[in-house]
């Protein structure tokens, strides 16, 4: 018997995965972890939860599918691909624009549409999200479009629903708004005179609290944009933003100089006069998208905004309504993208079921 440890006698085993941090692989690891529930084994989309984990070909396929919903004159067409299917729009937090455009897209595809305003129903009575979800799926549906205030809610639901239901993320917390991200990509694809790989894109405004910004950054990177810039006061930038693969600016003029695309983000009123922002006038002076700043961008640059806009806070009215604005086109493109995502997710569900899963 020994009374003291002999370190040589104890073999050093490989530490578990939990002990190691590898900055070179963390992005892949994170992307893989978020792609897990949303792809079929063949790589096709089963749920649409986020941009992370999807590759360039998959994003291109969504854009290409969306293009098929426009006729030769650029008008949206109806195509009853979801006839006989039921889509439930489950909005756990209020939304007008996103819910309406989803509803329009679903009806153009011929689906039976149910809008369920959960914010004022079961969960207010203390029912857990899981129980609410299980009750709704017992009423039989094929697709749930979900908006929820908690980041990761769509991922959670995708792990809880029965295999015959597809989840489409209509926005979860600060995390992701993937259909907004894809409609932004469709808009850039249609409006930009240069391919994604040659573009400089500036995203300005409340990056920290924006699910749109996270989805846009992820989509732009996947589609090959090398020059992605973000600009905001430090209080509106998330910690570690530089590791998203973007250039961080605090000076708006420098950020927009020679840009092809300027994407504005909404400043929520409650942030103004809080510790995050002093006043709307100071914000507008330093970070507003003004005609003068548009003049610093490339001559054919255009401006985007997910809406609703605070005119005179994050964007000048003359810019929002001007020739370089594609903001209303974004809304129109949003319907095509949502039709594409709904259609692809339903295809993925059918394939998943056909594979016997």
């Amino acid at each position: 018997m020994s009374n003291s440890i002999d370190s040589q006698s104890i073999p050093t085993i490989s530490p578990t995965d939990y002990t190691k941090f590898d900055p070179d692989t963390i992005h892949e690891k994170l992307d893989a972890s978020l792609s897990r529930p949303q792809l079929n084994t063949d790589g096709s989309i089963r749920h649409f939860l986020g941009i992370e984990g999807l590759n360039k070909a998959q994003l291109r396929a969504i854009i290409a599918k969306a293009e098929t919903f426009f006729d030769d004159k650029g008008q949206l067409i109806n195509r009853p691909e979801l006839e006989g299917y039921t889509v439930m729009n489950l909005f756990f937090e209020p939304s007008t624009r996103t819910r309406t455009t989803f509803e329009v897209a679903e009806k153009r595809l011929g689906a039976n549409v149910l809008n369920i305003d959960i914010e004022r129903s079961s969960t207010k009575k203390g029912e857990s999200l899981r129980d609410t979800l299980w009750n709704l799926q017992a009423m039989t549906a094929d697709i749930f479009v979900v908006r929820h205030s908690a980041s990761g809610a769509a991922h959670f639901m995708a792990t809880e629903v029965t295999p015959d239901i597809a989840i489409i993320n209509g926005g979860d917390g600060w995390h992701a708004h993937p259909t907004q991200g894809m409609l932004d990509m469709l808009t850039i694809h249609r409006e930009a005179p240069r391919p994604f790989e040659e573009l400089s894109v500036a995203i300005v405004g409340d990056i920290k609290h924006s699910r749109v910004a996270r989805s846009d950054i992820s989509a732009l990177q996947t589609l090959g944009v090398k020059d992605i810039r973000v600009c905001a006061p430090r209080t509106l930038l998330p910690k570690g933003i530089e590791r998203f693969g973007v250039q961080v600016y605090e000076n708006m003029n420098e950020c927009v100089t020679d840009c092809d695309v300027i994407m504005g983000l909404r400043i929520q009123n409650e942030r103004i006069g809080s510790p995050l922002l002093a006043s709307s006038s100071e914000y507008y002076k330093h970070y507003g998208i003004t005609p003068e700043r548009m003049a610093l961008a490339k001559p054919d640059a255009f401006v985007m905004h997910p809406g609703p806009m605070n005119r005179g806070v994050e964007i000048a009215s003359s810019v929002a309504d001007g020739a370089q604005s594609v903001i209303l086109k974004q809304v129109n493109n949003g319907i095509a993208i949502r039709m594409a995502v709904l259609s692809l997710a339903m295809e993925g569900q059918r394939a998943h079921q056909a594979a016997g899963n």
Binding site: M1, S9, W174
Partner: protein, 403 residues
């Protein structure tokens, strides 16, 4: 002890002499029957400075019986619980009943932190003299805030009057807010609200200065940040009567483990960065950190079945504690002798129970190389909430012996 051995097993015996004098005969019998060639560690019983056994008030997650069984099966004979139960631990007779039931039903010695302020509301001191009489080893406000710093100062002065030690779990709520994850890239990537490291260190700084002012003995539990370790180093250099611990999982998990909204890794204080983890490992090695606690928080099967931020924080840690402890030795973070100090002897000193600890005695036999899989069946705790679920770990308690 050579008379016990009739095999070629290697026994690394780290029992202090006082424990060897009262060693039960069952230990000798067990060792005599070990397989030849096996390597075992013989340690004193483990002392845990912070675990939640879920009684009273949260029996849906665990009971004194279930969690006592898990503690004992994993080598812990002495367990300290914080006062934020339901009802709050601020009543002497409640404490006495809990201690008795923990021993009768769970087979463990329970040591209780009483409430530092009435109702843990941070408004005024609790009946600290009464709590001391009821057998509290120390007082604490758990992670609940104080109304202001003056209340904290006066409450510490009041506790010092009765010679009570205070346990702190430093957190400044105005900085941690509704955060659910370490404020950094991983939280940003997932869109989760962050808890900055200064939420811990701002509170810790204030508390250390108050300790200096009042000269009260204090223990700081579950430190998680690099700067906290630096502050503790400063306080100890200055000669303040302070000690500290870290939770075992902070030595092996980081915020990377949140990937994919992994609610099993949701714990408060949150899993920190790799830089923080390296710093607390160094602090452990150089003696700045005195002890390792389990921070065991068992939860029922539905508690994590929600989106990350809406799930219940906590990791069930009793069952994986020894495997991670073994890994610390294998990774040469600590020698086995140092490990025994951090998980047995120092916690007993910090809890002020050394005399009782030695009198009770006992021993824990550990197989540091036993490979096992973390499953519902292999876990003794009612709570199966662990990020190690389904993983293979090495090292486990073979048997816990009473003295």
């Amino acid at each position: 002890m050579s008379h016990m051995i009739n095999t070629d097993a290697t026994i690394l015996n780290h029992l202090p002499q006082s424990f060897q004098n009262t060693l039960p005969s069952a230990v000798a019998d067990k060792i005599a029957n070990l397989e030849a060639g096996s390597e075992m560690w013989l340690l004193p019983p483990l002392v845990d400075l912070c675990a939640r056994l879920r009684e009273p008030g949260q029996q849906q997650h665990g009971t004194l019986e279930s969690e006592g069984r898990a503690a004992r099966g994993n080598g812990f004979l002495h367990v300290v619980i914080p006062p934020d139960t339901n009802p709050i631990l601020e009543n002497g007779s409640l404490l006495k009943g809990l201690r008795e039931r923990a021993l009768d039903d769970g087979g463990i010695y329970l040591h209780v932190l009483g409430a530092l302020t009435a109702g843990l509301e941070g408004e005024r001191p609790s009946n600290i003299a009464g709590l001391k009489k009821g057998g509290c080893i120390a007082v604490s406000n758990a992670r609940r805030p104080f109304r202001n710093d003056l209340v904290l100062l006066r409450t510490l002065e009041y506790a010092a009057t009765f010679g009570m030690k205070v346990f702190f779990y430093p957190d400044e709520p105005s900085l941690s807010g509704d955060g659910v994850a370490h404020e950094g890239y991983i939280a940003s990537y997932h869109g989760l609200q962050g808890i900055p490291w200064i939420a811990e260190t701002v509170a810790l700084s204030t508390q250390l200065l108050m300790v200096e002012e009042t000269a009260i003995a204090a223990h700081f539990s579950q430190l998680s940040c690099k700067s906290s370790i630096e502050l503790m180093r400063w306080a100890k250099d200055k000669g303040l009567p302070v000690t500290c611990d870290v939770a075992m999982h902070q030595l092996y998990l980081t915020d990377d483990n949140l990937e994919g909204f992994n609610a099993q890794a949701y714990v408060l204080p949150p899993l920190r960065s790799n830089t923080d983890q390296q710093a607390i490992r160094r602090g452990l090695k150089d003696g700045t950190i005195d002890a390792i606690c389990s921070h065991h928080e068992p939860l029922n099967s539905t508690a994590k079945k929600a989106p990350f931020a809406e799930s219940t924080p906590g990791i069930s840690n009793f069952d994986t504690f020894m495997a991670l402890a073994c890994q610390l030795v294998k990774d040469e973070v600590l020698t086995l002798a140092q490990l025994v100090d951090k998980i047995c002897l120092n916690p007993a000193k910090i809890a002020g129970i050394s005399e009782q600890y030695e009198n009770i005695g006992g021993a824990v036999l550990v197989d540091p190389n036993l490979e096992w899989q973390v499953t519902s069946e292999s876990m003794l705790s009612n709570g199966k909430n662990t990020p190690f679920f389904n993983q293979k770990l090495q090292g486990r308690v073979v048997e816990t012996f009473f003295g």
